[in-house]
């Protein structure tokens, strides 16, 4: 049970679904009104009456005349609909299990669909979550004398994740787009345009199996082939991805990390850096025991 403020003194009581409660919970968190002002009737036009705690529906405020309005999803004052279409926050109903909370989240559905249709990009997105969230946080939490060392490591992690996603989008997206075309052709024309004789075994229906742990599995030739095409190229191109990451890292270091992220920015070298053209300019004929200027700074390739 929960109430809405409709005017100065009146309040409408409605029986609400979990989604409504979550929305109001979110709204109360977002507006961050103090307790006193929430309890008082000073707030006009704000259609909530929650305190700022997590399980706020337990402490819902009831004031004024109540009017039961069961299962009405619309606040009659504002005309807004609070049904969010399955979008549930993690701080929601404690009755839901962990698996149900995760499954009901919107990202779960889209991520699973992406993993099925485009595994390589889904892997890059998952890696982005790890490299941009978990790993930098743990690196920064580690005690280190030099803060810049941690900062550099964390930003390297973020950069590797981002470059991985860009590479995956460029390299593997066409494969999933091609497979979508093949799928539509297979469904509509029986695979005449692209698959030819292969349509026979790829159009076979799903086989249902029950695993040892009781999980019902559904497998099909098409899904297996789709997985091979969308994820298989990654095995052969992962060395190119590594080269791409290694190649872009010095530029990210130079133009982003050294400039904006590090506290103690690396100082420019005192000595002027000579180009090969400058070296040739300074070449002079000298005595045999005196080394010419070109080779004074030359220490091999390792420099």
């Amino acid at each position: 049970m929960f109430g809405f403020y409709t005017s100065n003194t009146e309040m409408k009581v409605t029986t609400m679904s979990v989604q409504q409660l979550n929305f109001n919970n979110y709204k109360a968190h977002r507006l961050r009104q103090p307790m006193q002002s929430l309890h008082s009737n000073k707030i006009m036009g704000k259609d909530f009456g929650l305190d700022d705690s997590m399980h706020s529906y337990k402490h819902a405020v009831f004031k004024g005349n109540h009017e039961s309005n069961i299962n009405n999803q619309i606040n009659t004052t504002t005309g807004n609909n609070y049904n969010l279409g399955g979008r549930v926050s993690f701080s929601g109903d404690p009755k839901l299990t962990f698996a149900e909370k995760v499954v009901k989240a919107k990202w779960f559905k889209s991520f699973c669909e992406m993993a099925k249709d485009n595994s390589a990009v889904a892997e890059a997105v998952g890696a982005l979550f790890i490299t941009c969230g978990m790993r930098p946080l743990t690196i920064m939490a580690m005690p280190q004398k030099d803060v810049d060392k941690n900062r550099k490591a964390a930003s390297h992690s973020i950069a590797s994740g981002v470059t991985g996603l860009i590479f995956a989008k460029i390299a593997y997206e066409p494969f999933s787009a091609a497979m979508k075309k093949i799928k539509t052709d297979l469904d509509k024309n029986g695979g005449k345009k692209y698959l030819g004789s292969a349509a026979e075994y790829l159009s076979k229906p799903d086989i249902t199996r029950v695993a040892k742990n009781g999980v019902i599995k559904k497998v099909s030739n098409y899904d297996c082939f789709n997985q091979l095409i969308t994820y298989g190229p990654k095995v052969f191109t992962s060395s190119i991805l590594a080269a791409f990451t290694v190649g872009t890292m010095p530029y990210i270091d130079k133009y982003i990390i050294d400039k904006y992220i590090l506290k103690n920015k690396p100082k420019p070298t005192d000595k002027p850096v000579f180009t090969t053209y400058d070296h040739f300019k300074f070449v002079t004929f000298k005595r045999a025991n005196q080394e010419p200027a070109v080779f004074q700074s030359f220490k091999g390739v390792t420099k």
């Binding site: 009901k104 669909e113 292969a198 742990n213």
Partner: protein, 214 residues
């Protein structure tokens, strides 16, 4: 003198929308452009889009020819028959190829000193082996214990799309487990172990050298 009259605006009054419009918009989950019947103009020029479409068409034809290959056909049918989840093997293979490339890069690099090469390569090798073994173990453990409640939850929430989502969930699970191990656990956990081993090796080497000189 005329006094300018300021219009009184009561900002506390909640804005009232017509209920019909608000409910329709909120219940359909449709975007504004979809409701108005308009499509957003694409930023990509038309000739690029056409070119991309043609190249994807060519790629699809190539994939079709690949599908007709008897080895590919045999492989897919064998995987389905034997119920082999090869996503995890592909994921492990990808990570191993990547790490192998990095190791090769370290071995052939002229910028890295010879003394530092061995510990670095050892670090990568131990990290790869531990992550691969851990990935298979964790994936197996999730398959045994955690997948059942997720299956129930998916069936409960998505009735018609449950089968497709379950397939996607299995793939996503394998991918995420291996990514977590290679990108997070390997650098955080395996690196100190590898450092410890390389330090011990170095100490042993220095000790041998000392014995030789004595």
């Amino acid at each position: 003198m005329s006094i300018p009259i300021k219009p009184f605006i009561n900002r506390n009054i909640p804005r009232q929308l017509p209920r019909v419009i608000s409910t329709n918009v909120a219940r359909t989950n449709a975007t504004a452009s979809q409701i108005c019947g308009m499509t957003a103009p694409s930023l990509i020029p038309e000739f690029i889009r056409k070119g991309a479409d043609k190249s994807i068409d060519l790629l699809a034809r190539g994939i079709g020819k690949l599908a007709q290959n008897k080895y590919v056909k045999g492989f897919t049918e064998w995987c389905v028959k034997k119920d082999i989840d090869y996503t995890q093997h592909l994921s492990a293979a990808c990570a191993n190829v990547l790490n192998g490339f990095y190791m090769y890069n370290v071995a052939t690099s002229k910028k890295i000193e010879e003394e530092q090469k061995k510990p670095l390569m050892l670090n990568m090798f131990i990290g790869t082996v531990l992550s691969t073994a851990g990935g298979y173990a964790l994936n197996g453990a999730i398959d045994k214990k955690l997948i059942k409640p997720f299956e129930n939850a998916i069936k409960k929430t998505y009735d018609t799309k449950a089968d497709d989502l379950m397939k996607g969930f299995k793939v996503a699970k394998s991918l995420m487990v291996f990514q977590l191990l290679y990108r997070f656990v390997c650098p955080v956990v395996a690196t100190p172990i590898a450092n410890h081993i390389s330090n011990k090796l170095r100490e042993k080497k220095e000790g041998d050298k000392g014995n030789l000189t004595v």
